[in-house]
Symmetry: C2
Subunit: 200 residues, 2 copies
DNA sequence: TAAATATCAGAATGAACGTTCTGAATTAAA
DNA sequence: TTTAATTCAGAACGTTCATTCTGATATTTA
């Protein structure tokens, strides 16, 4: 009796993510989402229930499509700052191909626009940042000679500094059209981190 | 013949800045602005012309009220990273007193929310970032021994890295309620910069 | 094929938005 | 005090928004 659905929820989420990413939550109207997904209002409200409930699954989709493919290497047990550098390069390359200035990072955008006024989104953003911090800390540990002066506490703080820098970088990528500037800044930053770790 | 105005334009801008800062551009309705300024719609539209034209002067007001009081010391001819550290401390203290998580930086918020879709706002944001970069570069130059290996190009990139970190820090201050974490991250970051500058 | 059900495109709804307008109240010059 | 200019509070206007509803169309089961 039931008619077969020809638009999957995942497909809807793909298009929704793209639109939310490029335009933000508030500036994405349901009209826009209907057009960009190609689905009907009925289908969208049936599958999700509303705009906000459509926004939330985009975080998982963003992880699967964008973050994980580039960041898993940083999470490997033997990863070092070289993998961190490759991660940044990959994200900057992607941003450059998409066009600079670009939409930056979906999570970083949500962090400033939505998270401060929404507990659920805040939780998603914090989860993402915690993942980044764990990965960075892993790389920093492998990079650091075990006989070095830097304490565990210092290394954890440095991992946090890397997260802060990452968010600042995405913010900058929404303003600049110069991909080489982003690359050079990142290289300079990582070189600075390396100098600190290998000891003065 | 004309009745004396008892609400000045500067007064309106003060209240508008406060509201825009705390709520962002899109989430600040004219109803809100009327309530928070205590002025009538007539007065607001007479003095500015509209919402957007009310938003723009807030940048200058933010410079005068928030940025300059803390940042001018970084712009002194003999400023070093010590002044940069003091600047960060002051801003974090202010954020903590206002309440964390807080509204962060008015310019940094506008950078991600408004600037990508508005040339005038983009110009204001770039102007602010350029000011920060000049100040940071000044401090870095004074901190660096003249006989050191770091090139002018490297120092300029480092100044850019400081700006990127700053924006990331404000983003973080919209999420965390832990002022000490912001302080510790900043200290760790500046210590890292110092290590790089004084040479490995 | 016939009946039941899912999906379609888009109209309808009610609230919120930025902006403009209205008429009363207030002020200062005459 | 009278008059003209100005400011007042808030209603009115025309859009736009998220959400719901409607009637037609397409698909599946019986």
């Amino acid at each position: 009796m039931p008619r077969k659905a020809n638009i999957t929820t995942q497909n809807l989420t793909d298009h929704a993510l793209k639109h939310f990413w490029e335009n933000g939550f508030h500036a994405s109207s349901m009209d826009d989402l209907v057009k960009s997904t190609g689905a009907t209002r009925h289908a969208i409200y049936g599958a999700f229930g509303g705009k906000k409930q459509m926004f939330l699954p985009c975080f998982q989709r963003y992880q699967d499509l964008v973050v994980s493919p580039a960041f898993t290497q940083v999470e490997q047990t033997d990863a070092t700052l070289e993998q961190v550098a490759t991660y940044f390069e990959a994200q900057i390359n992607r941003a450059e191909e998409t066009g600079l200035p670009g939409p930056g990072c979906f999570v970083a955008n949500s962090a400033t626009e939505v998270a401060p006024h929404d507990r659920e989104v805040l939780a998603k953003v914090e989860e993402h940042n915690a993942r980044l911090k764990r990965g960075f800390l892993n790389a920093l540990r492998n990079e650091t000679p075990s006989t070095h002066q830097l304490s565990t506490k210092d290394l954890e703080l440095l991992a946090g500094v890397l997260v802060v820098f990452t968010n600042g970088l995405w913010s900058t990528s929404r303003l600049t059209q110069d991909g080489d500037f982003l690359r050079a800044s990142t290289r300079q930053f990582l070189e600075t981190i390396r100098t600190r770790i290998s000891g003065p």
